[in-house]
């Protein structure tokens, strides 16, 4: 238990060093889902920065944006739009899928 207490103490200390409020000017990026595909299927984003990702679903059926590498999941209703925040990311490729149509709905974020 003492180890746990110590670890949580350390984490709280780390929390104090972090800015609590996100800057209002997070860069925004857009993805469109059409015919169960992401457009664009490859999206370039800056690394080391938090970004706002807007996903517009132009299909009539719902879709779930999911990425284990980004640790994100969000359901987007048919003809709906969703917003989520990603990063700051280390440079690299981060795959994502539309879970409800995994065969076609595949994409990748490239942080550079």
């Amino acid at each position: 238990m003492n180890h746990l207490k110590f670890a949580s103490y350390l984490l709280c200390l780390a929390a104090l060093q972090m800015p609590l409020v996100a800057s209002a000017e997070d860069a925004a990026f857009r993805l469109v889902i059409k015919d169960h595909r992401f457009q664009p299927a490859e999206l370039n984003i800056p690394s080391g920065k938090k970004i706002r990702l807007m996903i517009e679903n132009q299909d009539a059926t719902p879709e779930e944006f999911e990425s284990h590498s980004l640790n994100r999941e969000k359901v987007i209703a048919g003809h709906g739009t969703a917003t989520l925040y990603i990063g700051p990311l280390a440079p690299g490729r981060y795959a994502f899928i539309g879970e409800f149509n995994e065969a076609t709905a595949q994409g990748v974020l490239i942080a550079q």
Partner: protein, 280 residues
Amino acid sequence: MLGTAIIVFREVLEAAIIIGIVAAATHGIRGSRRWIGAGLLLGLAGAGVVAAFTDAIGSLASGVGQELFNAIVLGVAVLMLAWHNIWMSSHGAVMAASAKSAGADIRNGSSECSALLLIVALAILREGSETVLFLFGIASAEGSDHSMMLGGGLVGMFMGIVAGYLIYAGMLRIPLRWFFTVTGVMVMLLAAGMASQAAHFLIQADLLPSLAAPLWDTSTALPEDGIPGMLLHSLVGYDSRPAGMQLVFYVFVLASIGFGMRWVRHTHRTKRSIPMKVGK
């Protein structure tokens, strides 16, 4: 068909494991079965409503309504599980003693059962609404083989329920001596995992800082979409690439429930050690 089965299995598994664990933990409490049944029905109805209003919920709070909704649902479930465990820690010892001598069904926990109802209903509401949306999408899609895919959905659902039942049945085989300790620890880990998931949604909505993301990466050793990773995710909140804030929530909930249980057990013991007047 297989793809459909796997997706539905994943969604159902999480709810089934939660229900399996609380059903085992409350086994023998009078009326608990009826409350679980009511929670099931309420959760299914709620899942339909949430699925129908996905777009409306999602567009609340400037586009992060879905994250807020999920975090609140998870938060309430964490509170209910915490309360359940702390309540049990004061009664568990007495129950274990009397259950040994008099068999099951001696516990009276009517106040306890409303928490049970909520935990079951919320688990189904959250996972069920995604399943409903997914199956609805299949049903309304053109040109694909609907019956094959819906059949796959049913197979996945069945497999998920079987997994939940196996956990329930397995927990009931634990010797009575260990039963309350094991169920207590399992409920604690379940609650901590849910708290970590709630933090994950609040980070996604940019309402909480992530604090080091990811804190570690075990996605190659133990991927979350493999069966062991999936099971661990549902049982103890395993995440292959967690954010630091998720661990803060996890540890905080574990510690709070642990201290709560210890404190209640302590006060219970002191109360009982005071000599009582025996009246006729």
